[in-house]
């Protein structure tokens, strides 16, 4: 076992950054996928644009070039619970509705600036929601622990995740674990061959991909 890796995952989770950690470490609600709603080509194109808004091309390629839309559909189909799949699918319409409401255009017709503006608002909303959710989940865990200590059983309730958190997490995960993300936006050496624990760093140097 790679306990140190486990330790790192836990660091990520307890540090409040749930990107991937949730999927990789817990991901289990005893609810195997029983075939969810299918994604269309339009959905994939939509998710490419959504992820590109979150991780755009800069001096290096962005999420669209990394085929992040397709990756997101694979992850939702294979790794999400049925409930989470529903939230994700309805999230696509919610994103469109929010764009219509704000800028009177569909998401696909909206300009990069309009998309960015909307997503920054949704990001704030999702963050505030996540804070409430984690407080709620902590409370439920405390109730469950108390019940357990008294020899009783307590069925924990949970708050659904926010659809934008899902979109953001999968965009970041998909982008940085893609070949371009890992090797062009980040640095990756497949076979380092040596270890240096006192390696120089100056502001602007890229981070290692690490995985």
């Amino acid at each position: 076992m790679e306990r140190r890796e486990l330790l790192k995952l836990i660091t990520v989770v307890t540090g409040g950054a749930l990107i991937g950690g949730e999927l990789f470490l817990t991901g289990c609600k005893n609810d195997p996928k029983i075939g969810g709603e299918a994604f269309t080509d339009e959905d994939i194109a939509f998710l490419d644009e959504a992820s590109e808004t979150i991780m755009p091309a800069t001096t290096t390629p962005g999420a669209k070039a990394a085929k992040t839309g397709l990756f997101m559909t694979v992850m939702v189909n294979d790794c999400y619970t049925k409930e989470d799949q529903k939230i994700f699918h309805s999230g696509i319409s919610k994103l469109n509705d929010a764009m219509e409401k704000k800028h009177k255009v569909s998401f696909m017709e909206a300009s990069p600036e309009q998309r960015k503006e909307l997503f920054n608002e949704l990001d704030k909303e999702a963050r505030e929601y996540a804070t409430k959710k984690s407080e709620f989940d902590r409370g439920e865990s405390a109730k469950a622990n108390e019940a357990k200590a008294n020899g009783q059983k307590y069925e924990k309730k949970t708050m659904d995740p926010h659809y934008f958190t899902m979109v953001k997490q999968l965009s970041i995960l998909g982008f940085f674990t893609s070949k371009t993300g890992a090797t062009e936006t980040l640095r990756h050496v497949a076979v380092p061959g040596k270890f240096d624990g006192n390696f120089p760093y100056k502001k602007g140097d890229k981070a290692w991909f690490e995985q």
Partner: protein, 562 residues
Amino acid sequence: MADDNYFDAIVIGSGISGGWAAKELTEKGLSVIMLERGRDIEHVKDYVNANKETWEFPHRGGRTQQMIEDYPVLKRDYPLNETVLDMWAKDKESPYTETKPFSWFRGYQVGGRSLTWGRQSYRLNEADFEANLKDGHGVDWPIRYKDLASWYSYVEKFAGIQGNRDGLSVLPDGEYLPAIDMNVVEKDVAARIKAHYKGERHFIMGRSANITQPKPEQNRLNCQYRNRCWRGCPYGAYFSTQSATLPAAKATKRLTVRPFSIVTKILYDKNTKKATGVEILDAQTNKTVEYKSKIVFVNASAFNSTWVLMNSATDIWPDGLGSSSGELGHNVMDHHFRLGANGRAEGYDDKYMYGRRPSGIYVPRFRNWGSDTRDYVRGFGYQGSASRTGWSRDIAEVGIGADLKNAMSEPGDWNMGIMAFGEMLPYHENRIKLNKDKKDKWGLPVLDMDVEIKDNEKKMRVDMMADAKEMLEAAGLKDVHTYDSGYEPGMGIHEMGTARMGRDPKTSVLNGNNQVWDALNVFVTDGAAMTSASCVNPSLTYMAMTARAADFAVSELKKGNL
């Protein structure tokens, strides 16, 4: 009985201890058959994911709902993921029952869990072997540190352990290859802990079975710092059956390896009071085959070794070979863990790392050591590391877009995390037993687990967390927070006990040479034999114990005593 079913020795299992048994026995001139219940995995060729990059996995190394459904046990912790799925037993084909929750992570293949182990390699210390006698828990070990010391040296030299000779009685030094370096933050933390605790606590480089100098005689190259050990190392840089003991045993031309061989029982002759061989079930053909031998080494991993004993000689002892003591299946131990602390290191913005180390740091036990006494017995150690956070960190102040991407493309803060691993006492009530009401797909009875941690462990866990915080704060780390991710027995993947060694056949299953008291030509030298658990990772001790027992077995054979 055809001659090709006769061998001088049978080795049941091919993991860390089985590999050592096969190596030692063949090198001492015996013909050996190694029986493995799972499939073969050929060194390098069958490490199918060893050279894959993350983006080559459909789920980028994650876990799917299908995997979660198929692996109801493995899903309980980090081992379930896309990169090493083929190195774990299929949970659905390998059922067991849980009177109390027990996570049993198994590797049913040639090489067993030697392919996926954590490689941390520590010696038990002198006090570990005297602990039961002194505080009255369990029974006294029939051996002492001095009985095993030369065997530790012997196996360390062959396996290849990187580490420093730190000169600590709590963690005896061994034969080491040059140590992998600590990083710049860890070095400073080590110095501050030494100063703050006036040499009473130590923060050292972890000692691990990763080679830092090539071993051409074993066809092994040194570590390439990829940190992908558990996918199987194409360089043979970490110790596994495949990289080290199996090639040595095969080189003697006296080894036969038989995969898909589930040993169902040891054949016992009540007149000679010895085993005559084993019966296996071929997992592919469902046929029963008998193999005969002079001696049997049981190295099936702790619980499966005991399962074999429980199913053997039941016409004489209904509860199986070794049950006359009343201790077979009892005194289950693991290491309890999954709690500790993390903190942020300030002032190292111009420092980074190159390469991915396969081992972190280690803090040896300091509680109930020297003049320290607590409201519990025994102790714990910490494993950990410092590193800079990367793209997966949370960056709350930047929403989305180019600013977020640019921020994530640079490393974040340095963090230091440590996790405690504590000793679990050998409680008679903590036991495994055969559940004859439930059968696996071969119609074999499954194990039932009835194991829990008790007051001593719970009290220890309070210190395990609080001391982690105190030490990181003493070392100058900021924003130190503790965590407890919850522990359930088995998660340590250090199953121990169930066929303990002892001095008296009335209270132990094995004697001081790992012989079953009731069948002296049967040796159990894996985790099952452990009389107490210590708090250090146990595999190195299984290696040393196995080499020692093999040496004893061959000398007894030569004397005509077996």
